[in-house]
Symmetry: C4
Subunit: 241 residues, 4 copies
């Protein structure tokens, strides 16, 4: 069977390892940059500028490092969208999401051990005090939609040749832009693994479903939009059939 | 007739849809990044750094995603300049501006529903309290001039081949630079659609003409400068004839 | 004579115009981004982050727009270094510096008219209160040295082919890095035209020589370092001869 | 002997000079951007945003300028990792580290002379008051690991051709991301030379070992991970043999 061949193949495990390590690095960098410097008042949503920049820039690097190994997805919402678009098989999708979740929890554990209890609580993405869950859900949906639109467009085989590698920049810049856009409302996660890690280690699960449902729906809609509407191969016929 | 052929073509409606969606994403990201984090005092012009960065970076991504479909203009001032330069026909120009305005109003409606009334008022671009309308007009003209100069130069067919795709970066970086330059005076709009959206949903139309006249005049002058002066094909003769 | 041919050529005047317009845009963007937002206290050196980012990003755009016309130098220190390295003839060098100075004074005049007197004073680069002239001179020298090192390296004919257009990014990023490095000491000018403009319109000439001598010496030393030491064509022999 | 040939070769000394000058520029830019603007309170860890941006952007420029001469390593941890991976011979490695240390001490001396005693103390990277040495060590390890992973991946011969020069961007962006991630805990050095310079001129050696051990271990582990796991040439066999 094909599954057994995959499970025995070095390429498969290398890709799974790459997703785990990549998510560990991404979540570690974002959490580190989110740590409140200077004795800041707890309870206030931290300014999203530094984690937004750090997250976007590390994605540019990760795509260069791990792009050829596993695609450097490092985001369960993206993996689910690739599954829905038929670009990824089920075994790989499930293994990648497990690896991403493990990487994110490992990264969060480091900060749980390194930070005092009052500081680590601030790493959990949560609906900000001025918003309610629906607003956070909407902003996570919107930000992830624009991010995954970019990822699907630049990884499209035919366009990739034209852009000559600029795709990794566009992906990272989308991460920064989306985090800045949603930061005030929901913390700007766009990545269920990034929200899962701190939730597991702190045990704070308030509105956690927002950070799975918003990004996943946004990602799937974005993926289908590119596949059926905007990619150079898409046509009216493809939409109908 | 050609117009009827256009109206029946899938390519035409795909481009119109791309302009609507692209402007929705651009305006949504800029407005989201403009939302005052932490209980900031109303009445103070928010710092332009975060919307400037978010706007510029999402433009880089949008050009990669929608550039081949419609050019990812997402700005009525640019569309008008392309019309004046004869790079776009009237039907397409009118349809694009309608789509851009619709996208911007849709994006603004989301924030109108999501934000308390005191916060949504801050999303309207307006002449800052220390300036008067003429200064804001001048800065919108200047900032849009440098932005559209960049857009026209990098989309010039002959140069495009040499720069190898770096054009999208230059466009996005111009958006950030222009927003930072004009931010203190006028909010750094450079895009009539970005100003139209919040004005429609809040009903605040103070000095709204500034955000159509400044960017449009700046864009048209920039477009003509490139076409007749600085493009590699331009020559003294072309200027005379 | 060659000079008369130049003076009659459209290419020559187009390049001079490009330098004037380019410097007007560069200085206008930097001054606009330096304007204190929110009623900030006069006398305090403004934070260099926003002008540093705006200046660097607009340079990336200007190199794409005007690079083929005049090289988009927009900096008298760079023009003088190119003169010393024999990459530019005397007529062109003198005309470029005149055009750059005119563009910078024009840009500064706009802000002189637009801003209240207390705000326009803050646009003048000056030795910060905690430093003395020698420190400011040293930092301007250092920052300009690293900037012009980058400009000379990436405009080197042989390397240009390899880097595939990334040179414009490296130039702009050097502007941002240098401004951040020298900002606290001297305002991070690295460009005599940027300092000349506000000095002319405000009549504040304190330590103005620092902003000509520091950048010019740094630029010339950097140019000679690349030509005789680090360029791929340079060799021990070239240094001796 | 090969060593004597190296010591007589102009290429060898040019590379050593490039490492010294490159580290002087890198450390000078980072220290300059770390200088507290506005009379800030001593004892508070400065915000890492400005040095993080300046350091990352100047690395992009330095790779363009000195990349072909010496690789623009400017980091003893990277040089040690290249030694371990067999990409660099012992003589070159030792000479580079000496040159890097000298450049960093020279850059720090400038700021020692330029700044008042209370300010220069803030340039020393140190374990922040809320952390202990083990946390700082862990964050330096983690940040350097992701940085050197990027450097090794993009300098890999086979991948370099595909990415077309984007590697220098990925390296610089990793520097910024890593500095932002570790900034709150340890100052985000990731470079023993950057920490050595201020320590030598101020005589403050508290926890100095952290800034050699953390980056070096992170760099070596990252180098080996790329060589044996993720590079396109790596395979299960290579790992076993």
């Amino acid at each position: 069977m094909v599954i057994w061949e995959d499970l025995r193949s070095w390429q498969f495990w290398k890709a799974v390892l790459a997703e785990g390590l990549g998510t560990l690095i991404f979540v570690g960098v974002v959490l580190g940059a989110s740590c409140p410097s200077r004795g800041s008042v707890p309870g206030i949503t931290p300014d999203p500028l530094q984690p937004a920049l750090a997250g976007g820039l590390v994605v540019v690097a990760l795509v260069q490092v791990l792009g050829e190994v596993s695609g450097a997805q490092t985001n369960p919402a993206l993996t689910l969208a690739l599954l829905c678009a038929g670009r990824l098989d089920l075994l790989r999708g499930a293994a990648f999401i497990l690896a991403q979740s493990t990487g994110a929890i490992l990264a969060s554990s480091i900060f749980y051990l390194a930070l005092p209890q009052t500081a680590v609580v601030q790493l959990v993405t949560r609906v900000s005090s001025g918003s309610h869950a629906g607003q956070a859900l909407g902003m996570e949906f919107f930000s992830t939609f624009q991010l995954i639109l970019t990822v699907f467009a630049v990884t499209n085989q035919q366009q990739q040749r034209d852009t000559g590698g600029l795709g990794s920049l566009a992906m990272g810049f989308s991460v920064t832009a989306g985090t800045l856009a949603a930061g005030t409302f929901s913390g700007g996660s766009m990545n269920p693994a990034r929200s899962l890690g701190p939730a597991v280690v702190t045990g704070i699960w308030d509105h956690h479903w927002v950070y799975w449902m918003g990004p996943t729906l946004g990602a799937i809609l974005a993926g289908l939009s590119i596949e059926f509407l905007f990619s150079s191969g898409a046509s009216q016929k493809k939409l109908v059939v």
